[in-house]
């Protein structure tokens, strides 16, 4: 009996280690992609970026169906900060995240590679109740303003305040997540909300007016998002990473084609953000500018600026190295094979078109 038990546990260990080795060397059973947004609906979806297009069109699911690899999209109400925790716990393989949260993660030793941009030159908006006397950023002094700290909204907000000789301490900042901030604004529990395209819905319902849109002040007042891969997964499955990047570049191309503008906003409206909001959000920008996957000098400069600002504002305690963070070989391959090398405009560090 005892020998039998010993034998049994031996087989169990052997089988387990074999499975582990197998999983490492061969293809993964599942690809887990974290999304730094709450998501909407069941199954949850999101909008506003090429990554969202890919999720809504189920392009990755189709790409990997033949191999029997499942694709899991995991949404996080706690946004970027919660995604960092999942990365630290090895609960994800890829993540769609904003610039600041990823910098915070890297500052604390998370091992990730940035593969491509997805959703860039995105502005922040500041909205106030319709009967408010706040007309510009300067009027925010001493008021109750909600900011979702630790997300990529925060730094742009801080920079916009600084441009008006203010900082967070001059306001009464209340830390609220995106949904709570909208609810608080609607009930006038706060004087202003620093938020994103979700504000258009409140505006269209007559509950708020928008007094500031940062993208109008230039590309240095925008935030960027990207797709990243965990180091371990990248080392174990470079072929899978390449295929994921291929699909995302294809999605970025479709999302950048002005002929699809209408179809794109209709697709994204499935995520619960109305068509009209997307129209407003993209009104003054071309799809190519917003949905370019390129890691160009502009993107690298933005991430460096975010890392420097985060250090200055004491959001991180040691400098973050940015240059070696990007892994562009997959993106370069995808652009070459899909003949998209010159499809998107490259921008220099100041945001001016190159060549």
């Amino acid at each position: 009996m005892r020998y039998f038990r010993l034998l049994k546990s031996f087989f169990a260990v052997a089988a387990l280690s074999l499975a582990a080795v197998h999983a490492y060397a061969d293809k993964p059973a599942v690809i887990r992609i974290g999304v730094a947004q709450q998501g909407n609906g069941d199954p949850p979806t999101f909008g506003g970026s090429p990554a969202a297009t890919v999720q809504l069109q189920q392009s990755l699911e189709k790409e990997f169906a033949a191999d029997g690899i499942k694709v899991e999209w995991l949404f996080f109400k706690g946004a970027g900060p919660a995604v960092n925790e999942a990365i630290a716990n090895n609960a994800l393989d890829f993540a769609y995240q904003g610039d600041l949260p990823s910098v915070l993660g890297r500052a604390n030793g998370l091992k990730t590679r940035l593969l491509l941009a997805s959703g860039v030159r995105v502005g922040i908006k500041i909205a106030v109740p319709t009967d408010s006397d706040i007309r510009s950023i300067k009027d925010l002094k001493g008021r109750r303003v909600s900011i979702f700290r630790g997300t990529n909204l925060q730094l742009v907000a801080d920079n916009a305040l600084a441009a008006n000789q203010l900082d967070e301490r001059d306001l009464r900042v209340i830390n609220l997540d995106s949904a709570s901030s909208l609810a608080a604004l609607a009930s006038k529990g706060i004087d202003a909300s620093v938020n994103d395209y979700h504000l258009y819905k409140l505006r269209d319902q007559g509950l708020a007016k928008i007094v500031y849109e940062s993208q109008n002040d230039g590309p240095q007042f925008t935030r960027q998002a990207h797709l990243l891969v965990l180091d371990d997964f990248d080392r174990a499955h470079p072929d899978v990473v390449q295929r994921v990047v291929n699909v995302l570049v294809k999605g970025a191309q479709w999302s950048s084609d002005e002929a699809n503008r209408d179809a794109l906003f209709k697709l994204w409206s499935k995520s619960g953000v109305p068509y009209a909001s997307w129209q407003a959000e993209f009104a003054n920008q071309t799809l190519k500018d917003r949905n370019s996957p390129l890691i160009d000098p502009f993107i690298v400069a933005r991430y460096k600026a975010v890392a420097a600002d985060a250090l200055k504002l004491k959001l991180i305690r040691q400098p973050v190295e940015v240059d070696n963070w990007f892994e562009t070989k997959y993106l370069d391959n995808a652009l070459r094979t899909q003949k998209l090398d010159h499809y998107w405009t490259r921008y220099d560090a100041a945001g001016k078109p190159l060549g």
Binding site: E85, A88, L104, N108, R144, R149, N175, L176, K188
Partner: protein, 287 residues
């Protein structure tokens, strides 16, 4: 559990004695050793947990981003204390909890007394009260946000609500446990209703009330942290959220330790107060 703790304490002390090369322990020494072991016993479990935490971090059982090593947490704690952030946030939290707790306790006494003294009031109100208290604090939050916004009143209301429930229920119970024999004596002496309340009902209820108040403080303290987690920009609960959002889990852990320590200290002082109240009670009410 306490036995092993005792052994560990004894052993530690034994080594010390050997090192100092003292003669064999006398019976009186033995008694003192045992007394010391009892005093050490409560520290054994925390020490083991701390050792486990330190080893876990050193061996990489847990990602250091999720559970930072103890020395890192300690450094953060020192830094927090030195910069004054700890004191200012703790003061804000304490102020919130005291206001909310005081309001909740007073309301709870009033409501519980009314329920305890009037069967009619009880019949009308108690079932609804019991149903309403089943709703967790977070369930009230969206509604309250709409009513009072995200300012200080929201925090006071939620903390008061948390304290109100145990105080009300223990007041009600306390008011119903006047010893029957004393009741009879009161009837013989033809006590008026107010005399009965002042000389019998209230003194008999004191120990139960004290327990209720102590429980209420624990609930209020927990509610405070929840409230600050949701909507706030200062306080100990906020430090926890802020640390999480900046992915500085050492800040989270340092704040958690402070929250736990303050809650424990408050509980202990209320405990002592309760014991004194019990001792001061006339002997007729003791069972």
């Amino acid at each position: 559990m306490s036995e092993t703790a005792l052994d560990a304490g004894n052993e530690r002390f034994g080594h010390d004695a050997a090192a100092r090369e003292l003669p064999a322990a006398s019976p009186r020494r033995n008694a003192r050793l045992r007394a010391l072991a009892w005093r050490l016993a409560p520290w054994v479990l925390p020490a083991v947990l701390l050792a486990l935490w330190a080893t876990g971090c050193e061996r990489g059982w847990i990602a250091p981003q999720i559970l930072p090593p103890p020395e890192r947490v300690f450094d953060t704690f020192v830094e927090l204390a030195r910069s004054g952030d700890l004191a200012s946030n703790t003061l804000i939290s304490l102020q919130r909890v005291l206001v909310g707790f005081a309001a909740g306790t007073l309301l709870g006494f009033a409501l519980g007394a009314a329920l305890g003294l009037s069967r009619t009031f009880e019949a009308y109100v108690l079932p609804s009260f019991n149903a309403l208290v089943q709703i967790p604090v977070l369930g009230w939050l969206p509604f309250l946000l709409l009513l009072v916004g995200v300012g200080e009143p929201l925090k006071y209301i939620l903390i008061a609500h948390a304290a109100l429930v145990p105080v009300t229920l223990s007041t009600l119970q306390g008011f119903r446990q006047t010893p029957a024999s004393l009741d009879e004596v009161a009837r013989v002496f033809a006590y008026k209703r107010w005399q009965r309340i002042v000389y019998l009902v209230v003194p008999a209820a004191v120990p139960t009330l004290a327990t209720g108040v102590r429980l209420a403080f624990t609930k209020a303290w927990l509610a405070l942290v929840v409230v600050e987690l949701v909507a706030s920009s200062e306080g100990l609960g906020y430090l926890i959220v802020y640390g999480r959002q900046l992915f500085q889990l050492d800040l989270v852990m340092a704040s958690v330790v402070v929250v736990g320590a303050i809650g424990y200290a408050m509980n202990r002082s209320l405990d002592a107060l309760e014991a004194r109240l019990r001792r001061g009670q006339p002997s007729a009410f003791r069972e």
